[in-house]
C-alpha cells in the first residue's frame, strides 16, 4: 500500500530527483527529451506527487475550509455544491465542517482549520454571535462570510441585498392588490433578519401600508418552528391577505399549518417566501419567493477569498448581490 515517491521515479529514470521535479513542474531548465522520458516513467509507475509534502515547502495547502451550520439544509447544500465546483476549478479542495449551529464547535473548527493550514475559510456563521466569537481568528486565517450581511463589520462578506429583497417583495404584493401584508418570523440577532424586516417596514412606509409583524420567538428558523408559529398566528384572527415569510423554510411551515387548518394558499391568503431553496420549486409547493442567487454567491465568495489569499491582501471586501423575484403560484391578485 505504500506509495511511489519522486525518488523511486528518479532511480528508475537514472536521474536525480530534482530533475524529476523539474520535469513535472514544467521548468524550462530541462531538455524536452528528458522530460518526455521522465513523464512516461511517471505514468508507468503510477506516480502521484505527494500534495502534503508539497504543501509543506510551498506553504500553501490548496485547501479551503467550509464551515457551515449543517450541510443538510437545502440552501447550504446548494451553495456548497457551487462553492466546491468553483474552488476546484481554481485548484483548491474543500474541507467540509458542520458546526451544527453551535458557537463553541464553530470555534473549535476554526482552531482545527488553522492546524490543518487551510489557505482560507468560507463561513456560513452558526449564529449572530459568530462574528464576535471568531474575531481573534480572522487575523490568522483569511475568512469570508457568505449569505450573511455583516453590515459594516471589519471582515469580508458576500451576501444578497436582504433589505432590497423584502422591499421588492412588498412592492410585488402591493401590485397584486394586497394592502394587509403580514411579516412572518421577524427575529432578533441576525443582521440578515434585521435587514429583511427593515426592508419590509420601509416598503410599507413608502406605500402607506401599516406594518404588521409576527415575531419568531424560536431559536432558529426551520419548517418545524415555522409550523408552530403559524399555528399560533392562524387562530389569532388578525387581518391580512398576504403573508411575507422571512425564509422559505418558515413559509413551508406555514403551508403545513394552513393545510391542517383547512386554509388554502393562495385562495385564503397569499404567501411569499425568501431564499428560493430547492423545495420551493417542488410540484405541489410552488412557492413564490425572493431568490438568493446561490451560484453567484458561491462564485463571488470563492473569488473574494482567493483574492485575499493569493495577493495576501489585508483589509476586507463587502459584496452585496441583487435578489430576484421568482413567481410561482402561492400569490394571487386580489
Amino acid at each position: 500500500m505504500k506509495n511511489v515517491t519522486i525518488k523511486d521515479v528518479a532511480k528508475a529514470a537514472g536521474v536525480s530527483y530534482s530533475t524529476v521535479s523539474r520535469a513535472l513542474s514544467g521548468s524550462p531548465e530541462i531538455s524536452e527529451e528528458t522530460r518526455g522520458r521522465i513523464l512516461d516513467i511517471c505514468k508507468e509507475m503510477h506516480y502521484t506527487p505527494n500534495t502534503v509534502a508539497r504543501s509543506m515547502v510551498m506553504k500553501s495547502t490548496k485547501l479551503l475550509g467550509l464551515i457551515l451550520p449543517g450541510i443538510n439544509n437545502p440552501f447550504m447544500s446548494e451553495l456548497s455544491y457551487h462553492i466546491d465546483r468553483q474552488a476546484r476549478a481554481r485548484g483548491y479542495n474543500i474541507i467540509l465542517c458542520n458546526s451544527s449551529r453551535d458557537i463553541e464547535q464553530e470555534r473549535e473548527l476554526f482552531e482545527l482549520m488553522i492546524g490543518r493550514q487551510v489557505d482560507g475559510v468560507i463561513l456560513l456563521p452558526a449564529g449572530p454571535e459568530s462574528y464576535d466569537s471568531l474575531q481573534p481568528f480572522f487575523s490568522r486565517l483569511p475568512t469570508v462570510f457568505v449569505g450573511e450581511n455583516l453590515r459594516d463589520a471589519q471582515e469580508s462578506y458576500v451576501s444578497v441585498d436582504n433589505f432590497r429583497g423584502t422591499y421588492m417583495g412588498v412592492e410585488y404584493l402591493y401590485r397584486l392588490g394586497h394592502r394587509d401584508i403580514l411579516y412572518f418570523g421577524k427575529r432578533q440577532g441576525s443582521i440578515t433578519h434585521q435587514l429583511r424586516s427593515e426592508g419590509y417596514a420601509a416598503a410599507c412606509q413608502d406605500l402607506g401600508l401599516t406594518p404588521q409583524f409576527c415575531n419568531n420567538t424560536f431559536p432558529g428558523t426551520s419548517i418545524k418552528y415555522g409550523y408552530q408559529l403559524a399555528k399560533q398566528l392562524l387562530v389569532q384572527e388578525r387581518r391580512f391577505t398576504a403573508v411575507f415569510a422571512s425564509t422559505d423554510t418558515n413559509a413551508l411551515g406555514i403551508m403545513q399549518a394552513a393545510e391542517e387548518m383547512g386554509l388554502k394558499i393562495p385562495q385564503d391568503f397569499s404567501l411569499l417566501g425568501f431564499d428560493n431553496i430547492r423545495d420551493s420549486g417542488l410540484p405541489r409547493i410552488e412557492l413564490t419567493t425572493i431568490e438568493q442567487p446561490m451560484k453567484m454567491l458561491a462564485s463571488v465568495a470563492v473569488h473574494t477569498l482567493l483574492e485575499k489569499v493569493q495577493n495576501e491582501l489585508a483589509g476586507y471586501t463587502h459584496r452585496i448581490l441583487t435578489p430576484t423575484l421568482i413567481e410561482r403560484s402561492s400569490c394571487r391578485q386580489v
Copy 2:
C-alpha cells in the same frame, strides 16, 4: 500572518523542540513541571500544531475523501451531514468532492485524493460503471461504497436492502387492497435499481400479481426526468391503482405531472416512493415511502472504512441495512 511553530515555543520555553513535542503528546518521559510550563506558553503564544507536518511523519492525514455525484441532492447532503459528524467524532475531517455524475471527473478525484494522501475514501458512485472504472485505485486507497449495493463485488460497501425494500412496499400496497401496481422508473445498469425492480417483481409473483413496468430511459433519476416520464405514462391509459416509484425524486416528478393533468393523489392513484428524502416529508407532499436509514448508513460507512484503515485490513466488507416503511398520505386503501 505566519504561524508560530514548535521551535518558537521551544525557544520561548528555553527547551529543545523535542521536549515541546513530548509535552503536547502526553509522553511520560517528561516531568510534570516542565510539561505544565510548556503548555502554558503554548496557550499564551496561540500555538496550534501544524497538522500537515505531523501528517508527513505519521503517514496519516486524518483526512477522508467523500466523493459523490452532487452534494446538492437531498439524499446525499443528509448522508454527508452524518458522515461528517461521525468522522469528526473519530478525529477525521472530510474533503468534499462532487463528481457531477461524471465518470471521468470521478477518476480524477481519486487521483487527487491519492495525491492528498487521504486515509480513505467514502464513495457514492457516479454511475454503474464506477466500480470498473475505479478498480485500479482500490488497492492504493481504502474505499467504501455507500448507498449502492455492489452485489458480490470485491470491494466494501454498505447499502440498504433494496430488494427487501420494494418487496415490503408491494406487500404494503397489497394489504391496502391494490392489485394493479405499476413500477415506475425501472433502469438498466445500477445494481441498486436492478435489485429494486427485482424485489418488486418477486413480490408480485409471490402475491399472484402481474408486474407492470414503466422503464426510465433517461440518463438518471431526478424530478425533471420523473416528470417527463410520468407525462408519457399518464396518457397511455394503463390500468393501475398504485404506482411504486423507484426513487422519491421520481415520485416527486410524478406528483408534478399528476398535478398538471388534474389527477389527485391518492384519490386517483396511490403513490409509493423509495429513499425518504427530506422533501418527501414536506407539508403538501406527504409521500409514503421506503426509508433508507441515512444516519445508520453514514455511521456504518465510516466505521467500516476506519476499520479498514486503522487495522490495515485487506479484504472487504458488505453491510446491508434493513429499510423501513414510512407511512404518510400518498397511499390509500381501495
